[in-house]
Symmetry: C2
Subunit: 229 residues, 2 copies
DNA sequence: GACGATATTTAGCCGAGACTAACTCGTCGC
DNA sequence: GCGACGAGTTAGTCTCGGCTAAATATCGTC
């Protein structure tokens, strides 16, 4: 009788926000989130996760069947998407206005996202012109909580010869990001796969207007998501 | 033998940062910080303060004599001044670049100051041109931890007829700040006290180039700090 | 110099969120 | 259909930073 009619939003703790965000991302990627997966992502021990899942479940932010798995409730998803919006707006703001780069902005955003108010996020969004993508090409959810469904393929799965646009770079590792930027592989660039070696061998790309060649290994190629143009 | 030769800076908690900052401000204002004063400022119960003071003392961030009082150590003061720098840079940044105003910027800065990195603060400082004062006229400590000694008098203590510059507005209350701004009483403005009613009565000011008159009560006048020009 | 008012500390408690050690469930191989 | 193994949970502990109630110290007053 007390659970259905209101939400005073008593401000979630930093930890809770982190768990929700990770559950959201893992569900998105793998279809579900496991205790072990969450533990690995947050770098905590598995029993800590079990404990938190129980609390989140009581707060009705997740649906949790022990030994089975975990799923966000509507409210939990809302909170998670809000964190994603915060994170991506902050990343974009820092790169556009405060001399951060796509390879070092992640940790700063990771801390700020728990401290900013809704008001500040919306002010940043206004200054940025209500942007739709962050520096890595990830879509920014709207203030209402809607997020664009991405329909991208990893470059490793693209057909040879098809004209592609690089849309998303799915890694946070500074070294890789720096290397990719040096190679001109940033969101928005046009490219075509011109060759692919067998047995997960390197992929050859033809890049942009200059048609410059690039050869990259599959490990790196797997973080490059494209769409046909 | 373990205390004198290094400081790995294991990153203070949010609470510790808050306590140090409050102790710094109270010592600055009253000459010393009492348990009760700290408790009132942080809106926690007195025993919570006692407990924290013990911990801070063990961490050698304060010198603490039970029942007597508390004083920052060199290291504690350094940490406190760093928080002051953060707070004031953030306040100025938000007002200059993100459409905040001096009457609503304080709570936002209060949360952000615990989340930002040194790097972000220095980037903000660069964008702001290494500013020396925040929106309320408070001096911003340097990155090295030096803070300008202010030698100001409250307008209630100023002599009649002397030309003054309003330098600092020492309140955070939104209503008061809004009212003062409406009256044109913001840092930098020139003014002269033209009359003062007895028994802590209102003070009459002549303001800026226009010589406009303003009458304000002592309570408000006490937050206006000036220097002779 | 004793007394009462006020400030402060101690004692004991709680919840969040982490940990390790030990137990249990689910699943896969035979 | 039974075991074994790995993933997940329970049990028990810890620290931080709050709280209330009760004890104690300090200080101003007579």
């Amino acid at each position: 009788m007390q659970a259905t009619h209101r939400k005073p939003s008593p401000r979630l703790t930093r930890s809770v926000e982190d768990y929700l965000k990770v559950i959201y991302h893992l569900s998105d990627r793998d279809g579900c989130a496991s205790t072990g997966g969450i533990a690995a992502e947050l770098e905590v021990a598995a029993p800590s996760v079990s404990g938190m899942l129980k609390r989140l479940s009581e707060a009705e932010l997740i649906k949790y069947v022990p030994y089975r798995g975990v799923e966000l409730t509507r409210e939990g998803r809302k909170a998670a998407v809000k964190m994603v919006r915060r994170h991506r707006i902050i990343e974009l703001y820092l790169t556009k206005h405060l001399d951060y780069h796509w390879d070092n902005v992640h940790p700063e955003a990771e801390r700020l996202e728990h401290a900013v108010s809704d008001e500040l996020i919306e002010k940043m969004a206004v200054v940025l012109g209500n942007p739709r993508y962050d520096p890595h090409g990830d879509p920014i959810p709207t203030a209402a909580g809607e997020i664009e469904a991405t329909d991208l393929v990893p470059i490793t799965a693209a057909m040879i010869g098809v004209k592609l646009e690089l849309r998303q770079v799915a890694t946070q590792e500074p070294d890789r990001l720096r290397y990719l930027a040096e190679q001109g592989l940033t969101p928005g660039v046009r490219l075509t796969v011109t060759a692919r070696q067998p047995f997960n061998g390197p992929i050859t790309l033809s890049l942009g207007a200059s048609a410059a060649k690039r050869v990259i290994g599959t490990e790196l190629a797997n973080v490059l998501w494209c769409r046909e143009v």
